[in-house]
């Protein structure tokens, strides 16, 4: 498949990816850093996410509050995200205002202040964010699942970090981390929208080309051993609803097995795409687990997820139990569906269906320039843009035998963690 993007690397190592889209007078620009919770260790868990927050707190040129103002005044939207392997910042602006976004990103790539007072006030904001997460049963369960699924790999921590670390980290922990990871050599600048590529490349060169290169992050992370036996996690908390999660070790995104496992996921829990914005959703009522668990009234909902990551992460299914149905009965039905997948090959029709669903999700995602900007940089964080460009083709190459093989290899019970959220029955009332 011929690429429709322009890729260039500046002398300081900044990788630039450009895609012209002339459907609307908008440009979405993204700066991706190859740093996330994968780069953290105990004592500074959550530092990547906190640094992301601090990047909104000002530079000498753009004092705190001024960044918001300059983007919002032009009708732009901006935000940032931190994940396991990456941190990204984006602005989507009217096309003739893109320089504002690029100047802002170049400025905060090297000049953020990390003022002591701002660090202190952001500490309580992030603790508040974590407390909001802790209100959610599925956050509590997922955090416990991650801890159980990994013994040494940094993927064992939630991106937001451990509360103890959020309370103890200091300004210099944040600033040094920023200095180490936020630099052109460790970043990708991805721009999609209504521009001419040559002119945009020149603008990128003028704006970012003079910044000191820095170093690309290459953390040394030992392979996480496969679990020797199934693990069980039990979490209790308020509420009346039982949740069950089953998580298997998944292949890294760059592994050939990722694609048959994606087809398997579509069959088992329903289709999911690579869109972050405006991609729409396709329901999963005909998926095997919905049919087996929800249609049989063992559960009221089920969904699954496979993440594209640098190192092997998790493929999980989350089940919302129907009131009064025993956990073991639900798990027995779940296991029977997994056994079915491991015993009988799927038909080619099933694979064709999964591909049409994936194609539809791509088409929906392409409506939105911000989403296209996201796509440009996303796959670079764990593979390359080619991974994204060939995604549909590689799904189409999946055979029934591939699906059977990955089901047997990845969905074995000794390689999984089973977690249950047990509600304590506390309810709500008015004072």
């Amino acid at each position: 498949m011929a690429s429709d993007i322009l890729t260039f690397r500046l002398e300081n190592g900044l990788q630039v990816q450009l895609k012209e889209i002339h459907s609307a007078p908008l440009i979405s620009s993204w700066v991706w850093y190859r740093v996330g919770s994968r780069n953290e260790h105990p004592g500074i868990t959550g530092v990547s996410h906190w640094v992301e927050h601090m990047q909104f707190k000002g530079t000498p040129i753009h004092p705190q509050g001024e960044m918001d103002r300059v983007v919002s005044r032009e009708g732009g939207t901006w935000n940032a995200f931190t994940y396991l392997d990456w941190t990204t910042f984006f602005e989507t602006m009217p096309a003739d205002k893109v320089e504002i976004a690029l100047n802002l990103e170049a400025d905060r790539m090297v000049n953020s202040l990390y003022d002591l007072q701002e660090v202190a006030s952001e500490r309580t904001v992030i603790i508040s964010e974590r407390e909001g997460n802790e209100n959610e049963p599925l956050f509590r369960l997922s955090e416990a699942m991650q801890r159980a699924a990994f013994t040494s790999h940094p993927y064992q921590h939630e991106v937001i970090g451990e509360m103890a670390d959020l309370r103890s980290m200091q300004r210099d922990d944040l600033f040094n981390y920023y200095r180490q990871h936020y630099n052109p050599a460790n970043a990708v600048l991805a721009i999609a929208g209504d521009f001419e590529s040559e002119a945009m490349l020149q603008l990128a060169r003028n704006t970012f080309g003079h910044l000191p290169a820095g170093m690309r992050a290459t953390p040394v992370i030992a392979d996480e051993p496969l679990p020797a036996a199934e693990q069980r996690v039990d979490v209790s908390g308020p509420g009346e609803t039982t949740f069950i999660q089953v998580a298997y070790r998944a292949p890294r995104a760059n592994h050939p097995d990722f694609f048959p496992l994606s087809v398997l996921d579509s069959l088992l829990t329903g289709p999911s795409g690579l869109n972050m914005f405006g991609g729409g959703g396709i329901s999963n009522k005909t998926s095997r687990l919905y049919q087996r668990l929800v249609e049989k009234q063992l559960a009221v909902g089920v969904h699954g997820g496979l993440s594209a990551t640098i190192d092997p992460y998790l493929y999980d299914a989350t089940i919302t139990a129907a009131p009064g149905r025993p956990v073991e009965e639900i798990l027995k039905a779940f296991d029977e569906e997994i056994d079915h997948l491991c015993q009988d090959a799927v038909t080619t029709t099933v694979i064709e269906r999964a591909i049409k669903q994936a194609r539809a999700l791509f088409v929906y995602g392409a409506e939105n320039i911000t989403n296209q900007g996201f796509w440009l940089g996303y796959a670079e964080m764990f593979a390359s843009y080619e991974w994204f460009e060939t995604y549909l083709q590689r799904l189409a190459e999946v055979t029934p035998a591939d699906v059977l093989r990955v089901a047997r290899e990845y969905l074995s019970s000794e390689k999984r963690v089973v977690g249950v959220y047990h509600p304590t029955g506390e309810g709500a009332s008015h004072e």
């Binding site: 009708g75 209504d194 002119a199 509420g239 609803t241 009522k285 005909t286 709500a428 008015h430 004072e431």
Partner: protein
């Protein structure tokens, strides 16, 4: 540097088709050939306003059941067709309307319209699916009762709207949903679902005239001679005093606050001034003045923002924040001070200029996708704003002055008469 396209991408009367079918369905259609897909948004003219007090949630339950089997297709056949095509179709119960959304690759639009017709006209409400759906709805309500944000919002509506139907949740309560029978659903559908008052907006890779042909073919024959007239909306009088209530949700780590007052209707002349004032108060940049005080300066919350809800009836103007339970009262006092300050003098001309630029500048972004355009066109029809509204929008926004904002805002917010709700553990 860049050479951005200069064409006008905002919808207007010259590129939006509007037609009313003989059976009362209003269609708006606009082409967008940038992507081989199509979306539709729309609503039917019936909603939770009609729900009997003892069966709150009836309209919502009925909407949820439409895709659970029709006269021509079982639940499985319906979703097999939909999901195999990578398409989606869903319904939701609102207070005045029953909304629906659909999406498909262009080639599948006729199929999606056919499914829309049969779900609206011939749902069968199979008993076993009624019970499955009831279990799902009850689980949703159980989760709502543990969600501090939902519970604060629910409590706020009760404090602000008191006896008015807007105080009632569209999804009901466990005891009211439990009372709803299969016959209640079928009767509600027979009495209230019909083409009159239905609005359908279709945007995507189809010429509007072709869209009209497809809609006439799919929905033009739908009739319901028994369809009821729209329900009347009772008068609303804002509370004359401050009210305060805490919804106890045990075991939570964070509390939520929702506080504020009433707001203008969408068609009111006050709407744009109040909306711009709201942007200054709690939205611009990272949440405007409220965000600056509560989040940036005090570090009390991850989110603290305002929201103006304006529709066909009385609106609400709300401040929301998620805070540690120990900081609930402190945050409420800070917000009250900020509201008092906001109502004491006109906003700065620079603040207003920022918000005006923000409103005008963000419009192309809101209208870049098929869904964004469909949603915008649906609002035009719902509030009778005219097909050229978005092209006139910049002028309307620039005409608003700080004095207009202050005058309009004082009609709705009063720092001494706020409804103040919170939810979480005991403080």
């Amino acid at each position: 540097m860049s050479n951005p396209s200069r064409r006008n991408t905002l919808p207007g009367a010259d590129d939006t088709l509007r037609a009313v079918l003989p059976n009362g369905i209003t269609l708006l259609a606009r082409a967008n050939h940038n992507s081989p897909s199509v979306v539709f948004h729309g609503y039917l003219d019936t909603g939770a306003l009609r729900d009997p007090q003892e069966k709150l949630g009836l309209a919502d339950f009925t909407a949820a059941m439409l895709t659970r089997g029709t006269r021509t297709r079982s639940f499985h056949q319906f979703f097999d067709l939909l999901e195999s095509s990578g398409a989606s179709l869903g319904f939701s119960g609102n207070i005045h309307t029953t909304g629906f959304n659909g999406r498909a690759l262009t080639e599948d639009l006729p199929m999606l319209l056919a499914l829309l017709r049969e779900t609206c006209e011939t749902p069968t409400f199979p008993v076993d699916y009624v019970e499955k759906m009831r279990a799902q709805l009850l689980t949703g309500l159980a989760l709502r009762s543990q969600d501090t944000s939902d519970m604060a919002s629910l409590t706020f509506d009760q404090l602000l709207f008191r006896e008015h139907p807007y105080a009632r949740p569209e999804d009901g309560y466990p005891e009211t949903v439990t009372r709803i029978s299969r016959d209640d659903l079928a009767t509600y559908h027979a009495d209230h679902y019909g083409p009159r008052g239905m609005v359908l907006v279709i945007v995507g890779d189809v010429e509007p005239t072709r869209t009209l042909d497809l809609v006439v073919a799919a929905l033009g024959g739908w009739q319901n001679p028994h369809q009821s007239l729209p329900a009347a909306l009772p008068e609303f009088t804002p509370p004359g005093e401050e009210s305060r209530q805490h919804a106890l949700v045990e075991g939570m780590v964070q509390s939520d606050i929702v506080m504020g007052g009433s707001g203008p209707t969408r068609k009111s002349a006050d709407h744009l001034p109040v909306s711009l004032g709201n942007n200054v108060l709690g939205q611009f940049g990272m949440y405007g003045r409220i965000g600056e005080v509560v989040r940036e300066r005090s570090g009390l919350a991850y989110y603290a923002y305002t929201r103006l809800n304006s529709g066909v009836g009385p609106g609400s103007w709300e401040v929301s924040a998620g805070v540690n339970p120990a900081n609930v009262e402190k945050t409420i006092q800070l917000v009250k001070q900020e509201i008092a300050k906001y109502l004491n003098e006109p906003v700065d001309t620079e603040e207003l200029s920022d918000s005006q630029a923000n409103y005008i500048g963000r419009l192309p972004l809101a209208l870049e996708s098929n869904s964004g355009v469909a949603s915008a066109l649906l609002s035009l029809e719902r509030y009778q704003l005219g097909l050229d509204y978005y092209r006139e929008y910049a002028g309307l926004i620039r005409a608003v002055t700080p004095e207009m904002i202050l005058e309009a805002s004082r009609r709705y917010l009063d720092p001494q008469m706020l409804a103040i709700a919170s939810a979480g553990p005991a403080g």
